[in-house]
Symmetry: C2
Subunit: 287 residues, 2 copies
């Protein structure tokens, strides 16, 4: 129906991002995306945390979290804002992207950057993210339309998740007015000629997800909003037909990175346990 | 009518960004915003350009352009994409922001970053731009709604230009559908309680600008699209009532930074001439 590639294609040439994402989720039996959002205050609150300058602490904690979560993660998603806010001369997003590219090759690298500008400018962001920072995919804000999105789509191996229906309260202001989110989904499906367009849809609004999936069944969904933001995992997986269509990623950031009982001494164990538990919950929903 | 502050307030306490912008434009008799978008290929094409690594060349050229254009500019607007695309370990946007803050205190510093994310994440972008990079104002993508915009608005002295009707062809895909751009203008006017919200509207679509100005007369307009993108200056200034309301910035990037006859030896002269000429053209329209 939706032309999904089978797991057997895994070893084939890189191909397109959307097939690659599905193959990754099936082969690794996980749809979990771990958001790598370093929060200095929360990290410093971990008992026994070493006294490091913020940039070091952020990188060290995210590297440890990635190593701990790797067996359970289909994707790692660092959010650019959390790295840009750390005062340092180091290009932290590039450090993270290259570290993941080197150490965690089987996990999809997704830059949560929400970029988007006129065509010739979006091309610079694409270059920065895909070449400079070594990411395989990015979140893009589609408000400015096709020429703002197109530069990110040129390489079929690079994935582009367009904001469609976000998990925050502000989605009511524009995205849910006049069914803008459905128009975005329609345009996204039309722009998917290289099989590398996906959509960001929030778990906080499962009642709207079915129509998005119907309009764009081939497009992977990146789904934040489970966990700290309060979305229901079971309802969400049900709404997107997750049993039949494994093209989706459920993102968790705070729930994995800052488990309630974590200390610095048990940090990797706690992160691994949180990631494993969430992966298992997702898998229980798709069985 | 619109509560514009008079020039006499110039020396008063910092106050709010929108009054400050108007005072700057009137006091300095210019509505020109110079986009500082370094393009390594174009800079290298200047006859006699010294052999510098790209990051050095970009900074050097932008610093020279800023010094040359200063007498004619109300604002300097570096676009983050052009700096993020340069491969370097240096945080170039921060270098530029701090340089402008130190050398060109009378010119408004505007980071063209088009950021926007859920509330707690937007707060990080605001911190990065206003504190880390020393900018006074930023362009923000409002697609995700109020909580994505609000963290940028907390300090009345920092200005926030929301994308409303952009100058690119893609504006047809979403912004011009169901009058989304007017809804953005309405929301922006409602969110302007700190007097620091502005709008980005393209000069390529003057026929739509009158209604935006009517809905939100107090909001400064940042207007790209004159010059390389083909918008008409006279029609634009007419459409926004520029004679009566000086709350606007006309942006030019390529037209100022890459004049046809520029060489490295005459670069500052050529940039100054281009900036002066555009400022004069704008002033002729508002007279």
């Amino acid at each position: 129906m939706t032309g999904h590639a089978s797991v057997e294609n895994k070893a084939a040439a890189p191909g397109n991002f959307n097939d690659y994402l599905e193959q990754t989720c099936i082969a690794r039996q996980t749809n979990l995306c771990v958001g790598l959002d370093p929060d200095v205050a929360r990290l410093r609150a971990l008992a026994g945390v070493p006294d490091m300058p913020p940039p070091r602490l952020c990188l060290e904690a995210m590297f440890q979290a990635a190593a701990a979560a790797e067996p359970f993660a289909a994707a790692f998603k660092p959010n650019a804002a959390f790295f840009e806010a750390v005062e340092t001369d180091e290009p932290l997003m590039a450090r993270v992207g290259h570290h993941l590219a080197e150490k965690h090759t089987s996990v999809i690298r997704l830059a949560d950057a929400k970029r988007g500008d006129i065509g010739n400018t979006s091309a610079r962001y694409a270059e920065a993210t895909f070449q400079g920072q070594a990411f395989q995919s990015i979140t893009v804000n589609p408000l400015m339309g096709h020429d703002a999105v197109e530069p990110f789509l040129r390489d079929p191996a690079r994935g582009v998740f367009l904001l469609c229906l976000t998990s925050n309260p502000g989605a009511d202001d524009f995205l849910l007015q006049n069914e803008l989110y459905l128009r975005i989904a329609e345009k996204a499906a039309a722009w998917n000629t290289n099989h590398n367009v996906g959509l960001v849809v929030g778990a906080t609004r499962p009642e709207y997800l079915g129509r998005v999936r119907e309009i764009a069944p081939d497009l992977p969904l990146l789904i934040p909003g489970v966990g700290a933001q309060g979305g229901s995992l079971a309802e969400t997986v049900e709404a997107i037909g997750g049993r039949e269509n494994r093209r989706f990623l459920i993102n968790a950031s705070r729930a994995v990175l800052y488990p309630a009982d974590a200390t610095w001494a048990n940090y990797t164990e706690q992160v691994a346990a949180a990631a494993r538990s969430l992966r298992d919950e997702i898998n229980a929903c798709v069985q």
